[in-house]
Symmetry: C2
Subunit: 195 residues, 2 copies
DNA sequence: AAAATTTGCTAACAAACGTTAGGTTGTCTA
DNA sequence: TAGACAACCTAACGTTTGTTAGCAAATTTT
């Protein structure tokens, strides 16, 4: 059965190769023949594992979405103050992102090619996730810990900065936790030396 | 001749409509027949104005790139301190971005579909632009004005935050200068109230 | 050992794609 | 007014696309 094993199944191999291909060329410009060649099989054979091209994209997008969601679950309701909660959320987000950088980029850039009802589901999941980050920032402001910045701009800025790391992160060079700490410090203490 | 006039030429109209279409569906998933229908002509007629589909993308990408470059020219070598220089650079970048939000998004997301030598030119222009932002930050650190954050992470974070505004900016609702000031404050003073 | 399932191949389909050739119409220029 | 040119149309081209049907081999389950 090979469930939970370390040897990748064909299906997993296809998914991994698809993530790399979709990342490189974009979903729409990637053909099933392209993908098949990378895997080392014929185009038609892909349909023994996925029922359509879009279903591969769906798998990548929703697997990543679930990973990001779960990474936040472990942090909330721990009674931490806003600063620690934010530092942990940043660390958690980057941990998921750096584990699968190519899947993350596909998740970020290619979701618009999902068809309904997947598209709607995806968008609302994304909105929920943004809201959970916003809640942390809101709490920090309420508690008088954070400056009273514009909440919408603040949360979107933070998330865009986190997500952008996927474009330059290299597993062989960068450490997820280092980046997390540096990003946390940038946002928490700001650029100016004296206040 | 209509040069410099306010009535858009067909070519400009096609470019505008292409930006909207490429933004909505992505370059690869947008067909010339799609585009022609939006303009109100037949697909073949597009070739009286552009010699290929890619040449439309080239026009959009390099026009935007030039706009962003020029917006920085006016700021450098004015003898401003790093904080003011940064505030002005942010304002300038957002001014260009908010003037043509859809072109900006295409510029950001679809450049990978350029072929050589345009692709290489584009990438090096992008790198140059990033470096000019980095220089401002570097100067601020050297002068003891800014905290000694990781320069690479800092500059990429700042630019990603700026660029991300194109995804939610609405001309009817948002003011470019407001966003610039709020973003500047977030980055300059940070989240924490006391140091 | 028989049966069922998984995995893959080949060949082909209908549709959509970017692009071109050749012709028509209208408008500006000499 | 004659000619040049720009803008647009129709029709078609060769390619590539996602996907399916039918079949073969291998592997797993019963």
């Amino acid at each position: 059965m090979n469930i939970g094993s370390k040897t990748a199944t064909r299906k997993q191999q296809i998914e991994k190769e698809a993530a790399a291909l979709f990342h490189e060329k974009g979903y729409a410009a990637s053909s099933m023949r392209d993908l098949a060649q990378r895997v080392g099989i014929e185009a038609g054979s892909l349909y023994s594992h996925f029922k359509s091209k879009e279903s591969i994209l769906q798998k990548i997008c929703f697997d990543m979405a679930n990973s990001f969601f779960q990474s936040l679950d472990a942090i909330e309701n721990l009674g931490l103050d806003a600063e620690l909660q934010l530092r942990n959320a940043i660390k958690a987000h980057l941990s998921v992102l750096t584990e699968d950088p190519e899947e993350t980029i596909v998740f970020q850039n290619e979701w618009k090619h999902l068809s309904e009802p997947y598209l709607g589901d995806f968008i609302s999941m994304r909105k929920d996730y943004e809201n959970r980050f916003r809640k942390i920032l809101e709490q920090g402001i309420k508690d008088g810990l954070f400056e009273n910045h514009d909440l919408k701009i603040l949360s979107l800025t933070l998330l865009s900065a986190l997500n952008n790391t996927s474009t330059w992160f290299k597993k062989s060079r960068d450490k997820s936790e280092d980046i997390g700490e540096k990003l946390s410090n940038i946002f928490l203490t700001g650029l100016l030396k004296q206040k």
